[in-house]
Symmetry: C2
Subunit: 324 residues, 2 copies
């Protein structure tokens, strides 16, 4: 009889589900649209059907599925298993998602913050494999963060640790969505990078991006980088500030918990080595002189699978803890 576990990554747009054995080998994965507007019960039903399909397609029985973990967008209340206030999941607010999913699947289900789960996946099988002190920064619409210290995820009081995108880099700087000023996220996320370019053009700044903005009514971070590559001055300035902020953020992280590695994930890392080298160069400028070499800055290596792998690893650990 096999010992199987589900790693579930619940996003605002898609749910990814992976079926794993107890050695953390992925047997099969699937993805389905979340449709959060239909509410948490609907989503749970869809997860249960998808899980059942994964089992039967691979000729396993329900009895072989021993546990699951679900990664959810923060803030989450992990003690109660509740998604508190995720902007993309308004109907889930206050709903006891973990226990409802556990009842429907009829197995023990644990819950984790999505960034923490992604880092735990990288820690199990990816860029952070075996690293005891490591920090993850996810570069997307926002900047998420997760921290492992002494080999354990740092949840902090009220499960609110790892809000690394909301560390202030420029005091009294740009207003962030969180209400603080000067946060790294307000400058260096994909959407803030695009937004800063748009604002400059709207202020009358010349740029080769101007025509594209007029045509599409918006710009993406990818657009800004494409015009950086073709030498547009504004695009260079805007993206250079993105790199500066990320370098400064890495310096804060090093001074705070001195991780062996800082790893970046999220949509923006599609930019590749250019981005990584720019972040490293900026970090060198702002870090403690002589200590720059004590941290390695890398990209995450598991891509979109980090969440399902991390959750599966958490489910396997939880099952061991129950057995012991």
């Amino acid at each position: 009889m096999a010992r199987l576990f589900l790693g579930i990554d619940l996003g605002g747009t898609n749910i990814k589900i992976g079926l794993f054995d107890d050695k953390l080998t992925l047997i099969e994965k699937t993805s389905l649209p979340t449709q959060p507007e239909k509410g948490p019960e609907f989503v749970i039903e869809n997860i249960a059907v998808a899980a059942s399909d994964l089992l039967s397609k691979n000729s396993f029985s329900k009895e072989e599925l021993l546990g699951a973990s679900v990664g959810c967008p923060g803030p989450v209340d992990l003690k109660r298993g509740v998604i508190e206030n995720a902007p993309n999941l308004p109907l889930f607010r206050g709903f006891a998602f973990r226990d409802a999913l556990g009842r429907r699947l009829n197995i023990p289900v644990t819950m984790e913050n999505d960034a923490n789960a992604a880092l735990w996946g990288e820690h199990a099988l990816g860029s952070a494999r075996g690293v005891k002190d490591v920090v993850l920064l996810t570069l997307g619409t926002g900047i998420g963060g997760a921290v492992i210290a002494n080999g354990h995820i740092v949840h902090g009081h009220c499960d609110a640790a790892g809000e690394l995108g909301h560390i202030a880099i420029f005091p009294n700087g740009r207003l962030c969505g969180c209400g603080q000023r000067g946060c790294a996220e307000a400058y260096a996320s994909a959407s803030s990078t695009a937004k800063r370019a748009i604002e400059e053009i709207q202020k009358g700044r010349e740029s080769t991006l101007k025509e594209l903005l007029e045509q599409n009514k918006t710009l993406s971070c990818r657009d800004v980088y494409a015009h950086r590559d073709s030498g547009d001055e504004l695009a260079c300035e805007v993206t250079s500030l993105t790199h500066e902020v990320l370098g400064r953020l890495c310096a804060v992280i090093q001074n705070f918990i001195s991780p062996e590695k800082i790893i970046f994930s999220g949509g923006m890392i599609a930019r590749g080595d250019d981005l990584l080298n720019d972040i490293r160069a900026e970090f060198e400028k702002y870090a403690w002189p002589g200590r720059q070499d004590s941290v390695e800055i890398y990209f995450a290596s598991l891509g979109e699978e980090s969440g399902i792998i991390g959750n599966a690893a958490l489910a396997i650990e939880a099952s061991r803890n129950i057995e012991n």
Copy 2:
């Protein structure tokens, strides 16, 4: 037969030594001048004689002393038990202090960074008692820091975690002793607070502190606060910036690891509730709106004993680990 442990706090000026039982009850403590210019072997001999005196004065035998821990100014290499580069202990650089002390005392000796040991003391018996996620900031000549996450001291890679005074608050700000710019320590330590007042007066700024500076050729942080109390505008400005920087630093700490408590220690806390209230008020301004209440800001409660208590607790734990 008693089970006794030494908690040793090695400073640049004084060595504090406490004799404890295995319930972490202080039996007797003593203090002696470090005389670091005479080298580490001399210091070790003095510690051994003082330890022997503590035992005999209390009618214990050498056999009842089971272990010790020594807290040392950073940076330290805890794996090798070496004080790496403490500015006040130049002759100790690279010396294998932990093992040499262990040989002389003929008991197992562990080593810890002094700020970590102080926080561990507060965690055992003081303001941070039983708190799983807590941060210490020491306000003295510099600003030291220590972090406990998930109930464990965060050492980080190369034992360099907790350099919280060197988190940049103002990018491109004042040059810090570490070589970075805009560090909290460059504004808000006792010596930086005094230094900023001196610099302003030297630039020609009017202040009631001017006469005192001319008379004494220097100012202390205490002087600046005394003139704040009598309403001097410069003293108010300088100390208000100190509080602002400490409040902003607390906001960084909350966003990073979301501790249940942040506790302040060091010479500056003699200022009392006024300082605490000012820091709290500044934190409220700069923290994530709506999340201010999830962290408590307090003073440490053990005063100068935190180091010997923390080290004794570490020595007791080390002895349990050897037995198990």
